[in-house]
Amino acid sequence: MIVLLTFLAGICAGGLGALLGLGGGIFLVPFLNIVLDVPVAQAMAISLITVIATSNFVSQATVGRRLSNVRLAMVLQVVAATGAIAGTYILKYISGRTREQIFGGVALLVAVVMLSRLNQRNVLPGHIRDVGMLGGWVPDPDTGELAAYRLKRLPVAIGVAGGAGIISTLTGTGGGVLVAPALNSWCGVPMRVAAATSAVILGVTAIPGVIDNFANGHLTQPLLAASAVLGVIAGSRAGFWISSQVTVRSLKILMAAVLSIVAIEYLLFR
């Protein structure tokens, strides 16, 4: 039964991961911990594995490859991976409760940022050729046309990616909770591109955390991890389909709602 429930939770996590670039951990960790009573350290370990699964799917699926900005992902991965490695050292000095509070605080902050920039679209007319080294073109389902975008405030993106790497290892959420909204709200990247690029970054960012969790004996339920991964792979496909059917404004509201619920849960009710 627990394997089936984990599989179903994986579908939801994968859907949210592909849809919003969150990696899905923000949903999966509380579900495994609160509903299935899996210890938080083990839930985070399983969640990090599923973050890699979402990333793999986004990197390899046709829709994901079209939306993700691989060059931007690679630049930010350098910083994010450094943050993730730093996180493995910080992990030894931070209690489980503090990790939960960091998780909740960051989620709440990002929800507020998302809501404050609900109508920001970040897209330029598709005929614009000069998009800079890290900009690009992407099909815009809202208008049905090709749209261009330029990356703004690269230092902000780099800072956020570093922070996301640390958060990824500390909370098992993949750090997408920071990267996707920040790229969209502050760096001029359209929501769907930010989500896909964030998902690509998270796969690499999660690796140090996964290995560290295994080394520290937190990855003790491989069967649950495997069923969650299978669910995530199925859910990611659904997430991409939903993404093409809804408006960016709806995606942002959904993201802010998910983040707010999780933040309140972790800050007030644990």
């Binding site: 991976a81 690499v204 690796i207 140090p208 495997a226 069923s227 991964v229």
Partner: protein, 112 residues
């Protein structure tokens, strides 16, 4: 598409095959773990671990793919970024080599 890199991808098809093989290995491992008992149980466990191991290698292969693409395009800053990511991952793997060795040994022992 944000860049014209896809056309140059060398590992693209291989990566998609590895992803499919990973899903199949995990699915078989989970199914065997749930429905088969006795001597097959350690094999099922080993399959699950193998699938999880394969899953972790895909992002690494993806970065290697990007490195090859950027080198072919002579886009050295981006090739450097991909190379730096690989160096950091190699550092992590080296740091945790004992844990990885334990996992590999357990896999080989259980599936033998």
């Amino acid at each position: 598409m944000t860049t014209d890199k896809e056309a140059f991808s060398v590992l693209g098809r291989t990566l998609r095959l590895v992803l499919m093989a990973t899903s199949a290995t995990l699915a078989m491992g989970v199914a065997l773990s749930l429905f088969v008992a006795g001597p097959a149980a350690p094999v099922a466990n080993a399959m699950v671990w193998l699938g999880l191991g394969m899953l972790v290698t895909i992002p690494i292969l993806n970065v290697i793919d990007v490195l090859i693409i950027e080198c072919r395009l002579k886009e050295w800053p981006f090739a450097g970024a991909a190379g730096a990511v690989l160096v950091m991952l190699a550092y992590t793997l080296f740091e945790k080599r004992e844990a990885i060795q334990t996992l590999v040994t357990a896999l080989l022992t259980r599936s033998a």
